[in-house]
């Protein structure tokens, strides 16, 4: 008797909260759900078919009714049927699923980019305007959002069930996923890849807001320094501008408008400049040397944190002229000549990794 009120409570709770799928809060969600429903229906039909066959045969051919079995070798026709029909259905699911997969992982060109850094055990979201959030993400409706994910330590996985999207955050490499939120509300944000002790604490909330609210939120929560501005400071303090000055005789290539362009590497390979390329070119420069330049750039591996890299990448992405690069260079001529030593001075700037 003692248990029954508890059970009753649970039942009521379950009946009132009954849901088998999370809310559909993104443009892709109904499309994923359509395939899920199709698959569920096919599965149910298959299961019922097997169940019916087994039950019917068990009743019809139980020993009491059918004391002597009739030996049957098999039937090529029947076997072909249940080879080809499942195969056909599975192939439909494959094609349908692949189409969805490419949709989910191919961001549209007008997507707004937000960087997300995973670390044990929190998500840090970095908006281009300099808004930083921990374990939460504010996004507007009606605007495609691209997430550029990276992990600072182990594998994490960024999952928003209500949007039906999920992407692994990998150490040492950018991955992307995009969504377009449709419903205002608060949704779960999970880390789904097991990442250590506080794995289950690495959850947060996605706040979907109307575009107006979002603008207000952006204005109210900015840190005052946009990612690009922070990147500019890093660019100067790491003395990147000493070589990438944009001057004709500079030792490094000009970085203005380099993002999105096609470069030819010193190995002769053509390459598209995207976030991943920029990040790699900072950390492993020698394999990413633009044709016509000497491989003299030092590696910044271990000197810049992932957040710092994001700032630098964002800065270079938005760099459309070398005017300010040269300005900073002129004003900072008092800095010592050795580029490596300058980092010590710039360590105070956000993003330089602390040992």
């Amino acid at each position: 008797m003692g248990l029954s009120p508890v059970l009753w409570q649970f039942l009521v709770k379950w009946m009132t909260n009954f849901a088998i799928i999370p809310p559909e809060a993104s443009r892709i969600a109904p499309q994923v759900d359509a395939l899920l429903v199709f698959m569920t229906l096919v599965s149910l039909v298959g299961l019922v078919l097997v169940g019916l066959l087994v039950t019917a045969f068990s009743i019809l051919y139980r020993r009491e009714r059918n004391p002597v079995a009739t030996q049957i070798e098999g039937s090529t026709l029947l076997e072909a049927t249940w080879t080809i029909i499942p195969l056909g259905l599975f192939l439909v699911m494959f094609v349908w699923g692949s189409v969805l997969y490419f949709r989910i992982y191919t961001p549209p060109p007008n997507a707004m980019n937000i960087y997300v850094v995973g670390k044990q055990w929190m998500w840090k979201a970095e908006h281009p305007g300099g808004q930083h959030e921990i374990n939460s993400l504010h996004v507007p409706t009606g605007q495609p959002i691209q997430l550029t994910l990276i992990s600072q330590d182990v594998f994490h996985s960024f999952s928003i069930p209500a949007f039906r999207v999920k992407r692994e955050a990998i150490p040492g490499r950018y991955t992307t996923v995009w969504f377009e939120a449709t419903q205002v509300g608060t949704y779960h944000l999970f880390c789904t890849q097991y990442c250590g002790t506080q794995h289950s604490g690495m959850i947060g909330e996605v706040d979907v807001m109307t575009p107006d609210d979002y603008k207000k939120w952006l204005a109210s929560s900015t840190s005052g320094v946009s990612l690009a501005q922070n990147g500019e400071r890093l660019f100067a303090s790491l003395s990147c501008n000493a070589c990438h000055s944009g001057q004709p005789d500079a030792r490094g290539p000009s970085l203005a408008d380099v993002y999105g362009s096609k470069l030819t590497l010193s190995s002769g390979q053509p390459v598209l400049v995207d976030e991943a390329y920029l990040r790699q070119a900072i950390l492993n420069p020698s394999a990413h040397i633009t044709q016509g330049y000497a491989p003299i750039m030092p590696t910044y591996q271990g000197q810049i944190s992932e957040e710092g890299l994001i700032s630098l990448v964002e800065y270079i992405k938005n760099l459309s002229s070398n005017y300010r690069v040269q300005q900073t260079l002129n004003t900072s001529t008092l800095l010592p000549e050795q580029p490596d030593k300058a980092t010590a001075k710039g360590a105070a700037t956000q993003g330089v990794s602390k040992p």
Binding site: L53, Y61, E64, P161, K166, T197
Partner: protein, 553 residues
């Protein structure tokens, strides 16, 4: 309900005095035995031991998940518990379960051989298994390991400060036990068949084990070398999987899943073999489309090597690789579908009875169908994004492994119990246990599909409160399931002394193993049989009985 069980007259029947159990006495005669049947029994005892350890850990997991907070144990304890549950259940129970016990016991007898090809290696593989198990337990007792059974790098190489090395080496050693078992089976099936026992007279149990053995022999060493690299990376920091040194952690995933995906076929294929035997026997019919079922086993084994990257769809493998692996995954689902329908149609025009092994087999068919079909949800890349790394995966995996494999294992243990021990298990209570297991299983794992759909991530010690109701259902189901597993343990031990004497062929089955005494002689056959009958040849069996009646009776 009628039954096919035909037992000898209990008043006069005796267990044959000379058999593999009574042949020699003393503990050493067991520990140094080369007899495949004794080694099978040693395995049966040891895997049961590890099953209950893994089961107890599962119970702890379910208890912890009763409430949304991590209150029963701290998060790091929970992580160690589910890691150990995975390691123990997969490497120490599921992989050796059917092959090392039933396969070991039956394959030589089924093909008319006196023993496996390499009896000493067979014994060695049991000792390796024990060594691996002991090391795993040591790792568990001395602080545990918290990487999950998948040992994801760089978590396992640089960030975990638990007993990764001990556990890794334990799995390495247990892996060699599995390699040797597989090697033994392949060689035995190729080389030791009795005269007349052609490939297409092999019981499907042997075909399934043959296919699984190929996977064991070719897949396991890749896991071994991967674990060696993880251990080297932890000890001297070689950096092959370390992104900061230029290594690629995804390479670890490739190598790990190259084994661990075929490993699920290593686990399920022998179970499928059991189901083929059981369904045929209790329907009194040749398996419908014998050749198709046999070749589907081999097809699963071969295709099983081509699909591993479907565990990595969201991990940043190339999208083209995703396409290829997703397509191949769909193809590997087809042989399983063929098997299910062929089993269903084996019942057609049969003469069916419903003893315990058959009930478990029905349970297997239902649960494996669900498990297999939900696998397609995960193989299709678009839906995989939403469902992967959630409780949907957990439910899918447990439907296939616990609903499929464990049902098949229990089915097989009941089916061959009279052969292994010479005594029957009590029928009524075991039928009850089968039903309890089925109900408990569905209660435990079906809610987890819903949790997964809702997006609850796996390996969470604490979870948002809205998932509690389904978790309570699951935990409640687990307690029923626990009873379902304890019951057979109890009545099977009881039956060792008090069970009815089974006679040679209580099920009136056709396999060679049923034509010899129960329990068998150490040498199985006094003279090597010459196989003239077909496989699952019930008419031959009838003639044989008449022959006996006219000549002996």
């Amino acid at each position: 309900m009628s039954t096919i069980v035909s037992l000898p007259d209990q008043a006069t029947a005796r267990i044959p005095k000379r058999n593999y159990i009574t042949n020699e006495n003393g503990i050493l005669s067991w520990l140094l035995t080369g007899d495949h049947k004794r080694i099978a029994m040693l395995y049966l005892i040891s895997i049961t031991f590890f099953f209950f350890i893994g089961g107890a850990l599962a119970g702890l997991i379910r208890l912890e998940l009763l409430t949304p907070q991590s209150d029963l144990m701290a998060a790091d304890t929970y992580n160690k518990v589910f890691t150990m549950h995975g390691v123990v259940m997969i490497f120490l129970f599921l992989v050796p379960s059917v092959p090392a016990t039933l396969g070991n016991f039956l394959i030589p007898i089924m093909i008319g051989a006196k023993d496996l090809a390499f009896p000493k290696i067979n014994l060695l593989s049991w000792y390796l298994y024990l060594a691996g198990g002991a090391m795993t337990l040591t790792a568990m007792i001395t602080g545990g390991v918290d990487t999950g059974w998948t040992f994801t790098t760089p978590m396992s190489t640089h960030f975990s400060n638990t007993n990764v090395i001990t556990t890794g080496l334990a799995i390495f050693i247990a892996g060699f036990s599995s390699i040797f078992t597989g090697l033994n089976f392949i060689v035995t099936i190729h080389r030791m068949r009795a005269p007349g026992m052609t490939w297409f007279k092999l019981p499907l149990f042997c075909w399934a084990h043959y296919a699984a053995s190929i996977l064991m022999v070719l897949g396991t060493p890749v896991l071994a070398i991967t674990l060696v690299l993880v251990v080297l990376e932890r000890t001297i920091g070689i950096g092959v999987f370390d992104p900061t040194k230029g290594g690629d952690p995804i390479l670890f995933q490739h190598l790990f899943w190259f084994y661990s995906h075929p490993a699920v076929y290593i686990m399920i294929l022998p179970g499928m073999g059991v189901i083929s035997e059981v369904i045929s026997t209790f329907a009194r019919k040749r398996v419908f489309g014998y050749t198709a079922v046999a070749f589907s086993s081999v097809a699963i084994a071969v295709f099983g090597f081509f699909v591993w990257a479907h565990h990595m769809f969201i991990m940043g493998v190339s999208n083209y690789a995703v396409l290829v692996f997703s397509l191949l995954t769909m193809l590997v689902a087809v042989p399983s579908a063929i098997k299910i329908f062929n089993w269903a149609f084996t019942l057609y025009k049969g003469s069916i009875t419903f003893e315990t092994p058959m009930l478990y087999a029905f349970g297997f068919m239902g649960l494996f169908t669900i498990g297999g079909l939900t696998g397609v949800f995960l193989g299709s890349s678009g839906t995989d994004i939403h469902l992967t790394e959630t409780y949907f995966i957990v439910a899918h995996f447990h439907f296939v492994m616990v609903g499929g494999m464990l049902m098949a294992f229990l089915s097989g243990v009941h089916f061959w119990w009279p052969k292994m021990t010479g005594r029957m298990y009590p029928e009524k209570i075991s039928q009850l246990a089968a039903v309890v297991t089925f109900i408990g299983f569905n209660f435990t794992f079906f809610p987890q599909f819903l949790l997964g759909m809702l997006g609850m991530p796996r390996r969470y010690a604490a979870y948002p409160p809205e998932f509690q109701v389904l978790n309570v259902f699951s935990t409640a189901g687990a307690s029923i399931l626990g009873v379902g597993y304890l019951l057979p343990m109890i009545y099977l031990i009881w039956s060792l002394k008090y069970g009815e004497v089974a006679g040679n062929n209580p099920w009136q089955a056709t396999g060679l193993e049923w034509q010899i005494q129960s329990p068998p002689l150490t040498e199985n056959f006094t003279t090597i049989p010459v196989v003239t009958q077909d496989v699952y040849d019930y008419e031959w069996l009838e003639r044989q009985k008449e022959h006996e009646v006219t000549h002996v009776g």
